[in-house]
């Protein structure tokens, strides 16, 4: 780790100075494989602030977001009908990130102005795009809040759970936990540099989450060649079902 810091320091110093403050960042890994025994993964996001001249006055803050591939979704609400709890109302969401984590040097409300949040869509609430119309519910906001609550409980949405450590207003590091139930795709990691609630600089990089070879193959086959996949499932069932009993018959005789 120490060597990493030195490298970054050198990098920051050696590069020709341009604007006042710029962010440079790296990831501990830029690909994650969803293997058979995948239980989740920690990604270390680190970087530094490159600047010419002295450090400007005032507090410097860093926000890191990691966003999984967006999906369209329907949120259902249950109500009691004839004594049974069933889905009765629904609200569509045009796009909601399948995973969303926000880490920051201080609580978002203290360091991010509402205008900057709207511009860059940093807080979880703004990362979700609600359907513009078509809903017949009176309280669509409750549905979006439920989406956030459910995904927070599943570890898929994280806000304020991990902190960004900032050293000497120059070097920062944070750790984002990808849980076991993430979907595959390109995960965008965004790093924001803030002064007085405004974004000074932004850096974006990607983490590729891919199913491992066998899982990838099975998934692709299931969606691209469903008939072939069905036959494969039947073949597996027949081989194991018939084969196992044949083995046991042999063992007995």
């Amino acid at each position: 780790m120490a060597r990493l810091w030195i490298c970054l320091m050198l990098l920051c110093g050696a590069l020709p100075a341009q604007a006042q403050e710029e962010v440079v960042a790296g990831l501990s890994q830029n690909s994650v494989a969803l293997t058979v025994n995948f239980v989740g993964s920690d990604i270390l996001i680190f970087g530094g602030v490159r600047r010419d001249g002295a450090i400007p006055d005032g507090p410097l803050d860093v926000i890191v977001t990691v966003e999984g591939p967006p999906q369209a979704a329907t949120i259902w609400r249950k109500a009691r009908r004839a004594g049974i709890w069933m889905n009765t109302e629904s609200q569509d969401v045009r796009a909601a990130p399948s995973f969303y984590a926000v880490a920051s040097t201080a609580p978002l409300a203290d360091i991010l102005s509402p205008e900057a949040d709207l511009d860059y869509r940093i807080s979880t609430r703004l990362a979700i795009f609600e359907a513009r119309s078509g809903g017949d519910v009176t309280d669509p906001a409750a549905f979006t809040e439920a989406l956030i609550r459910i995904r927070q409980n599943e570890g898929l949405y994280q806000e304020g759970q991990s902190a960004v450590a900032l050293e000497r207003d120059t070097l920062f590091t944070t750790r984002i936990t990808l849980p076991k139930n993430i979907v595959e795709g390109s995960y965008a990691a965004r790093i924001f540099l803030l002064r007085d609630g405004a974004v000074v600089d932004e850096h974006e990089t990607f983490i590729e989450v891919r199913k491992a070879v066998l899982e990838r193959w099975l998934y692709t086959l299931a969606y691209d060649q469903p008939a072939l996949y069905g036959l494969l499932s039947l073949f597996v069932a027949v081989v194991f079902g018939w084969g196992a009993s044949a083995v046991f018959r042999l063992m007995r005789s």
Binding site: T74, I75, N87, F143, A237
Partner: protein
């Protein structure tokens, strides 16, 4: 050890899966039941999405019945013409069931439909088994053998399109077996079960088939209907998880071998009452979940293939 399921897109504990497959396998070996009606609800309880549980459950049925049907075919204890008629009905039923399943998925009600069907059917089977085994225990105590009329003609047998079923010694209309097949096919598609628990009593009491061909013929129908339903779910929903199926099947075949031996030693007839209680307990748990106010009123369904 956690394993990642590529279709369900989540990780579950491999030993839990082997345990579910193995436990149900032991029961099916002991009591000669398919066990699909226990596997699917147990998968709900460990967090597998109901559509994946149903489609994978029906794939598992193929594995648990294939060696049985081969053995019965070899012993010639399958009434093939009857099997084909039941199968034709089963395929029609499966298509109807899949259509209904997909319609309900779109309307966001499939979880409810699956759970309701389980409450109804597990309730009926559990109560019937409990009643049956209680009477069997009383009979063995009083020492009188059960008596059953060998052959009864019901009005349903006199419908048109009569056909000769030589192995069963029947000359009856094809309408009742066709309808029985349709009903079982619908259950297979919606509940992810083989449907033997409905098919066997229907063949004995409704069609009046002799017991020596009932098991083989029902396995013949169940295997092919389950295979067809697996294909339908794989093609229309992409919900068959082959990784999940492998663990259930491995647990199941080993469990069934243990169960068969245990059944011989322990006197399965006396234990049947425990199976009835287990079925009623699973039924009660699902009913409770439907009736008790849920902790989370909201649920998310993601548009697939996005």
């Amino acid at each position: 050890m956690q394993i990642y399921l590529p279709i369900a897109e989540t990780s579950v504990n491999a030993f839990t899966l082997l345990g579910v497959g193995g436990g149900v396998g032991v029961l099916s070996g002991m009591f000669g039941v398919g066990g699909g009606f226990l596997i699917t609800p147990l998968l709900f309880f460990i967090g597998v999405p109901p559509p994946v549980a149903v489609a994978t459950g029906v794939n598992q049925v193929v594995a648990s019945s294939i060696s049985g049907v081969l053995a019965h075919l070899k012993r010639k204890t399958v009434d093939l013409p009857m099997g084909w008629v039941l199968l034709a009905g089963g395929l029609i039923g499966s298509i109807i069931g899949i259509w209904f399943f997909n319609l309900m998925s779109r309307l966001g009600q499939i979880d409810l439909i699956v759970q309701l069907s389980y409450v109804i059917f597990l309730g009926i089977i559990g109560a019937m088994m409990f009643n049956e085994s209680l009477r069997a225990m009383l009979r063995t105590r009083s020492g009188t053998a059960p008596r059953r009329k060998r052959h009864t003609h019901l009005w349903v047998h006199n419908l048109p399109w009569k056909m000769k079923f030589r192995a069963s010694g029947l000359y009856i209309s094809v309408v009742p077996p066709l309808l029985v097949g349709v009903g079982v096919g619908i259950l297979a598609a919606i509940m992810g079960v083989g449907g033997g628990f409905i098919l066997v009593p229907a063949m004995i009491y409704l069609l009046g088939m002799p017991t020596k061909v009932v098991i083989g013929t029902s396995l013949f129908q169940v295997t092919f209907v389950a295979a067809f339903t697996t294909m339908m779910h794989a093609i229309t929903n992409q919900t068959v998880d082959v990784m999940l199926a492998v663990f259930l099947i491995i647990g199941g075949v080993i469990g069934a071998q243990i169960g068969t031996r245990l059944g011989l030693k322990l006197g399965a007839e006396q234990l049947r009452i425990l199976l009835a209680l287990l079925v009623l307990a699973v039924c009660g748990k699902i009913a409770f979940d439907l009736l008790w106010p849920p902790a989370e009123l909201y649920s998310i369904s993601v548009a697939e293939g996005a």
